[in-house]
C-alpha cells in the first residue's frame, strides 16, 4: 500500500535520512526501529508529506501523494499535545473535518469513539481539565476517527500509562483486522517484537535491517541461549564458544559462536551455578538490534 523508495533528507551539516526504502502492506503492522535521533521521525514526516524529501519518492497504492491521500492517513506525532483551552468534542471535530469529514458524520463518529473510550462524560470539558492518560486517548481518536487506510504513530508507547498501552494494543490489532496499514516507530525493541509483522531498522539515517520480523530472526538463526540461575554469573563472559553475553540479575542472554554446541556450553556451567532454566532459541530483537548496530559501529 505504501512504498517509500530511496528517501534522502539533509539538514544543515547532517544527512538525517540516507537512501531509506521500505514497503508497508495492508493488514500489517510495520515497526520503524532505531535509536533516538536515528532518523525515524524525519522518515515519518516525509512519508506523510510534512517534509519534502531531497531525493526519493513515496507512493500510496502506486500513486504519488495527493490531496485525496491526506484524508486517508492518520497521525499521532511523537511529542503529543492538544489545544488546552478547547473542549474535547470541538477538538476532535476540528481534526475530523480537516481530514475531509462532513460535520454531521464527524459528530456521530466523535461521539461513538468517545463512548468507546469512556470519555463521553468529558465531551464538553476543556482538554486541560483532563488527565494525561485521557488526553492520550483523544490523540488516538484524532488519528483514527476518519477511518484512515494508513495510521502512523511516532513513538506511541513512550509515556503511555499501562491501561492505555493495552488500549493501543487493541487498536493496533483491530486496525490490522480491518486490513489497514500501521506504521509505528519505537526504540523499545520488546514492543516492536510483540507487535510488528515487518520492520525496518534505521541507524544514523541508514537502513540496517529490513523485512518481515520472522525473516529477520531466521537470518540470525537459533543461536541464542536464555539462562536463568542463582549464583554469581560473572564468569559467563569467559565461556568457550560464546560470542557475547548480556548478564542481568539472575538471568543471561548468551550468543553462541557459529557452529558452537549448546551442550558443551551447558557442561561448562553445570556445577558453578544453580541452573533454573536453559533454553536455546532465536535471538531477541533487542540483541539483533544491538548486534546490527554494533556492526554498523565497527564499519563506521
Amino acid at each position: 500500500m505504501l512504498k517509500a523508495s530511496h528517501l534522502r533528507k539533509d539538514f544543515t551539516a547532517v544527512r538525517a535520512v540516507d537512501d531509506v526504502s521500505f514497503e508497508v502492506k495492508r493488514g500489517a503492522i510495520f515497526g520503524l526501529l532505531g535509536r533516538n535521533g536515528a532518523g525515524k521521525t524525519t522518515t515519518i514526516r516525509m512519508v506523510l508529506n510534512i517534509l519534502k524529501p531531497d531525493a526519493g519518492t513515496v507512493t500510496f497504492d502506486g500513486l504519488p501523494f495527493s490531496e485525496r491521500t491526506r484524508n486517508l492517513v492518520g497521525y499521532v506525532p511523537e511529542e503529543r499535545g492538544l489545544y488546552r483551552k478547547s473542549t474535547l468534542l470541538d477538538t476532535i471535530l476540528y481534526f475530523a473535518r480537516l481530514r475531509g469529514m462532513s460535520g454531521a458524520l464527524a459528530r456521530s463518529e466523535a461521539l461513538r469513539w468517545l463512548d468507546r473510550f469512556s470519555l463521553r462524560p468529558y465531551a464538553q470539558r476543556k482538554v486541560e481539565e483532563l488527565s494525561k492518560g485521557n488526553q492520550q486517548k483523544v490523540q488516538f481518536i484524532i488519528a483514527i476517527i476518519h477511518n484512515p487506510q494508513l495510521v502512523v504513530l511516532d513513538e506511541p508507547f513512550s509515556g503511555l500509562d499501562p491501561v492505555n498501552q493495552i488500549l493501543l494494543n487493541d487498536i493496533f490489532l483491530e486496525l490490522k483486522q480491518q486490513n489497514k496499514a500501521i506504521i509505528f516507530s519505537t526504540h523499545q525493541m520488546d514492543q516492536a517484537e510483540r507487535l510488528s509483522d515487518a520492520l525496518c531498522l534505521i541507524d544514523r539515517g541508514k537502513v540496517v535491517l529490513n523485512g518481515l520480523l520472522r525473516d529477520v530472526k531466521k537470518q540470525y538463526g537459533k543461536n541464542s541461549i536464555h539462562l536463568e540461575y542463582a549464583g554469581d554469573g560473572t564468569f559467563l563472559r569467559l565461556l568457550n564458544g560464546i560470542k557475547n553475553v548480556m548478564v542481568s540479575e539472575n538471568s543471561a542472554e548468551l550468543h553462541m559462536e557459529d557452529g558452537a554446541n549448546p551442550q558443551t556450553i551447558l557442561s561448562q556451567i553445570v556445577g558453578k551455578l544453580e541452573i533454573r532454566k536453559f533454553e536455546v532459541h532465536e535471538p531477541s530483537l533487542h540483541s539483533i538490534f544491538l548486534h546490527a548496530v554494533g556492526e554498523q559501529e565497527l564499519m563506521a
Partner: protein, 415 residues
C-alpha cells in the same frame, strides 16, 4: 468544506468564545470612555470651585475695573467664579516686595494665583499671571481679554472717543475653509478630515495588531505542543496559513463592528453629516484590505519562526515601529498632500495604504497615481505572501533555537 475555511472557522470560533475576547470586547470601550470622559469630568469639577485671584497693579488704574469684570462670572450654583484681592495697587508700590508677598501668599494657598500688571516705561504691555499651576487656560484667557479691553477703552477715552464704539468694532467672524474640487464646492473641516483619515489608520493597525498577535500566539502554541504536525499532515501549510489569517481577521472585524455599534449608539445624535463621498469610501476600503493583507504577511514572515513567548513579545516591539512610522507622518502628509516627497513615499509599500488614506480625503490623487498605487500594493502583497508562506512552511516545524535572518532568507529563496 474547503480546508482553509475549516481552519478559519476554528480560529474564529475558538477565539471569539474565549474569555479574553469577551473581556476585551467590553473592557476596551470602557477604558476608552473612561480616558475620554474622566479628565473632562475632573476638569469640570475644578471649574466648579471659586478661585481667589490676587492683583498686583503698578499702574494703579487697572485693578478696579479688572476686579469688577472678573467678579461678574458666576458658577452654575450661583456662587462667584472668582474673588479678587488687591495685594498691592498704586504707582508708588515697591514692586519686588509686592511680588515677594504675593508669591508667598500663593505658596501658602491664600491665593490661587495673581496677576501682575506693570506697564511702566514700556510701549508693549506685558501681563503676567503667576500661580502654582499654569493649567487653567480659561482663566488666563479671561484675564487677558479683560486687560486688553480695559486698556483699549482707556486709550479711546484718552483720544476723546466713546469707548462703546469698541463693541461695534468687534465683528465676530467664523473662519470656514472651502476645498475646491472640479466643478463643485464642498465645505471641509480640517478636523473632520483629519479624524476620518486617522480613524481609518487606527482601525487598520488595530486590526493588524490584534489579529497579528493572535496569529503569532496560535502558531507558537501549535508549534510547542506539536499539533502543527497533525495539522500539516491534514492540510497544506498554505491552507493553514490563509485559514488563520481569514479566521483571525474575521475576529478582529467582529470586535470592531461591535465597537462601532457602541460608538454609533453613544454618539448617534451628534452630527452624522460628516460622511465622505462613496467613491472615497470604496477607495479607502480597497487600501484598507490591501494594507491589512500586506502587514499580515509581514507578521507571518517574522512571527512564525518565533519559538518562545518572550521572543513573541520582543517581536511585537519591533513590529510596532513599522506601524508608528506612518502614523508619525500623518500631520505633515495631510498638510502637504501635494508635495513631491509625499508622492514618492506613497510608492513605498509599507507606507502606501496610510499615505493614500491620508491623501484621498484631503485632495484626491490623480487616477494614474491611484491605479499605480493599487497595482504596486497588490504586487507587493502577493510577493510578501509568497515569502511568508515559504517561511511559514519551514518555520512551523522548526523548534529549538530561533533561526537566524540568513536562515530565514534561505527558506524564502529555496521556495
Amino acid at each position: 468544506m474547503n480546508k482553509t475555511l475549516v481552519v478559519a472557522q476554528w480560529e474564529y470560533v475558538e477565539k471569539v468564545r474565549s474569555k479574553a475576547f469577551l473581556i476585551g470586547l467590553f473592557l476596551t470601550p470602557m477604558i476608552i470612555v473612561a480616558m475620554g470622559v474622566l479628565p473632562g469630568l475632573l476638569a469640570d469639577k475644578e471649574n466648579e470651585t471659586t478661585k481667589v485671584i490676587g492683583i498686583v497693579d503698578a499702574t494703579g488704574e487697572l485693578a478696579q475695573p479688572l476686579a469688577r469684570r472678573m467678579e461678574r462670572y458666576t458658577l452654575s450654583n450661583g456662587q462667584p467664579n472668582y474673588l479678587t484681592r488687591f495685594v498691592a495697587v498704586g504707582t508708588t508700590i515697591n514692586l519686588p516686595a509686592a511680588i515677594r508677598d504675593a508669591d508667598s501668599m500663593v505658596e501658602r494657598g491664600e491665593l490661587d494665583g495673581y496677576i501682575l500688571l506693570d506697564l511702566r516705561g514700556r510701549k508693549d504691555t506685558t501681563v503676567e499671571y503667576r500661580s502654582k499651576t499654569a493649567g487653567d487656560i480659561r482663566l488666563v484667557n479671561r484675564l487677558g481679554e479683560h486687560v486688553r479691553n480695559i486698556l483699549s477703552e482707556r486709550r479711546l477715552i484718552a483720544r476723546g472717543i466713546d469707548p462703546s464704539i469698541l463693541d461695534d468694532l468687534r465683528v465676530p467672524i467664523e473662519l470656514r475653509t472651502v476645498k475646491i474640487a472640479a466643478g463643485e464646492q464642498e465645505e471641509t473641516d480640517f478636523v473632520k478630515t483629519f479624524f476620518s483619515a486617522y480613524i481609518f489608520i487606527m482601525a487598520m493597525f488595530f486590526l493588524i495588531f490584534t489579529s497579528g498577535q493572535l496569529l503569532v500566539r496560535s502558531v507558537l502554541e501549535e508549534k510547542s505542543n506539536r499539533i502543527v504536525e497533525v495539522l500539516v499532515s491534514s492540510c497544506t501549510p498554505k491552507e493553514l496559513m490563509f485559514g488563520k489569517v481569514l479566521g483571525l481577521s474575521a475576529m478582529g472585524l467582529t470586535q470592531m463592528a461591535f465597537w462601532a455599534l457602541i460608538a454609533l449608539a453613544v454618539l448617534g445624535k451628534v452630527g452624522s453629516t460628516a460622511f465622505p463621498p462613496v467613491e472615497q469610501i470604496l477607495l479607502m476600503v480597497v487600501f484598507f484590505i490591501l494594507g491589512y493583507l500586506f502587514y499580515s504577511a509581514i507578521f507571518i514572515a517574522f512571527g512564525s519562526p518565533v519559538t518562545t513567548e518572550q521572543e513573541a513579545q520582543q517581536l511585537n516591539g519591533y513590529l510596532v515601529l513599522f506601524v508608528i512610522l506612518p502614523v508619525a507622518l500623518v500631520l505633515p502628509v495631510m498638510q502637504h498632500p501635494d508635495a513631491d516627497w509625499v508622492k514618492v513615499l506613497t510608492f513605498i509599500p509599507l507606507l502606501t495604504p496610510t499615505f493614500m488614506a491620508l491623501r484621498i480625503p484631503v485632495q484626491m490623487p490623480s487616477t494614474g497615481e491611484i491605479l499605480g498605487a493599487i497595482a504596486l500594493l497588490i504586487a507587493a502583497t502577493y510577493l510578501m505572501m509568497i515569502a511568508a508562506g515559504r517561511i511559514f512552511r519551514v518555520a512551523i516545524l522548526a523548534t529549538g533555537k530561533r533561526p537566524s535572518l540568513a536562515e530565514i532568507w534561505s527558506w524564502v529563496r529555496e521556495g
